[in-house]
Symmetry: C2
Subunit: 294 residues, 2 copies
Amino acid sequence: MTVTPDIAEIGFIGLGIMGQNMALHLQRAGYRLHVYNRTKSRAGSLIAGGAYWHDSPGAVAANADVVITMVGYPADVEEIYLGDDAIVANAREEAYLIDMTTSEPSLAVRIAEAAKARGLHALDAPVSGGEMGARDARLSIMVGGAQEDFDAVEPLFDIIGENIRLQGGPGAGQHTKMCNQIVVAGTMLAIAEGLTYAENFGLDPTEVLDSIGTGAAQSFLLTALGPKMISGDFTPGFFVHHFIKDMGIALKEVEKIGIQLPALRTAEGLYKKIAAEGAREEGTQALIKAYRRT
Amino acid sequence: MTVTPDIAEIGFIGLGIMGQNMALHLQRAGYRLHVYNRTKSRAGSLIAGGAYWHDSPGAVAANADVVITMVGYPADVEEIYLGDDAIVANAREEAYLIDMTTSEPSLAVRIAEAAKARGLHALDAPVSGGEMGARDARLSIMVGGAQEDFDAVEPLFDIIGENIRLQGGPGAGQHTKMCNQIVVAGTMLAIAEGLTYAENFGLDPTEVLDSIGTGAAQSFLLTALGPKMISGDFTPGFFVHHFIKDMGIALKEVEKIGIQLPALRTAEGLYKKIAAEGAREEGTQALIKAYRRT
């Protein structure tokens, strides 16, 4: 791992569970961090480790060679990049702007264009791997942008992830993440329906998982979330409301070009149903609730 | 692995790709085989190895301590077990009858009752793992029946599989296999939809698989069949028409008790569509065709 010598100061905006873990790895690797988060208390351990707090995204950008963002919704991304006192308007000359939020491909394109107009380098780089992947620096990072920009910041990606790929121009990282979320959505339906069958026909669902988990039905999600569906442990690993956001982005994209993805559509409908019934802040394994008769 | 001493002669009916491989393992383990298949030529290598050919399922049953069946459709299972000159009517006293076909749970119950009435021991024991699992003796075997009957023939299961579980009484093996097929159906939708998105948004689907195949979207099927979907290699591992049969059984069961499994329903519809358009004898990865605009 080589570190680009002229990157010393990194701005990090968005210190949720994912962002905090990612920022911590960069701090431990020796970079000086400039941080901002809507809730300042979440920056505590980073500040204790030497990070500088700033009161706005623009102020972070003014102090950093690279700005990394990991926020919640596309509207947040738009505000911190393109709003008043925002990143693009305040960034240092030639700075790299990396949005790692799962967000809209078309917004990534707009940010890339606005950045380019100011001589900045923008990349969209959403991740997969969840809290555990962030903590263990084993994230998959799906990148959209220019090859030379990717090359320049790849050493930073190497610090927080391990499967790092440039997928195309601006927006391609987000599109790739949409593929990931579409596969996840269908797989969640698959698991919930298989377990629903088991429960309804008097089988022991745990024994069923033990039988089917090693063959053609095997998946990361079956192993990770199947047992939680069975036991009713809906503690969030990945929030229902964030997943609904992601599926909404994907559906908006496919509607634009007129293709049908019925499993994705079904998954979004069922997740909205359980969200309306109180599962917004639960983990995605709460999908099983949509199948259980009350 | 201990071999029950009073099982010496095994009848094996149904010598397709799966059945031939399973029978071969039993022959190599030292059992004398009695075989029948609709197409006699498929018995060639087993006969060369010392197996006895018989002209009917009933004749096989009359010569065996254990009869194993691995045929195509529930109608075949019903005919060879319950028809004239069939297994139940001709089996030796106290014989074990093991149907390893993926078939209807309710038929498994009927066979078990008919067997019991004659003092025979029936088990339903469908498998997962496909041709490779059968060849390598690494099948998952999902068993329904009485504990003592399972215990008596488990040494035989150990010869052909490695994840072998009694899931409950008669029919429970078939119900467990339905869970497996439901999870497979949803996962196939997931993969086909994710790749459809990739293809439609100008991504390199192979690069996308490399990005998403190690994280939350990971599954056996994504790795095994995703590349075949991309390259258009529809060579059958598991036939479309067999999968349609399995999904039909599962849907018939869930209709009986009034639960909704929308992903399973969607998968069945799309598979029937591609089957009608010529993909009956192709592998299940041909699902991608249902999403490609022609």
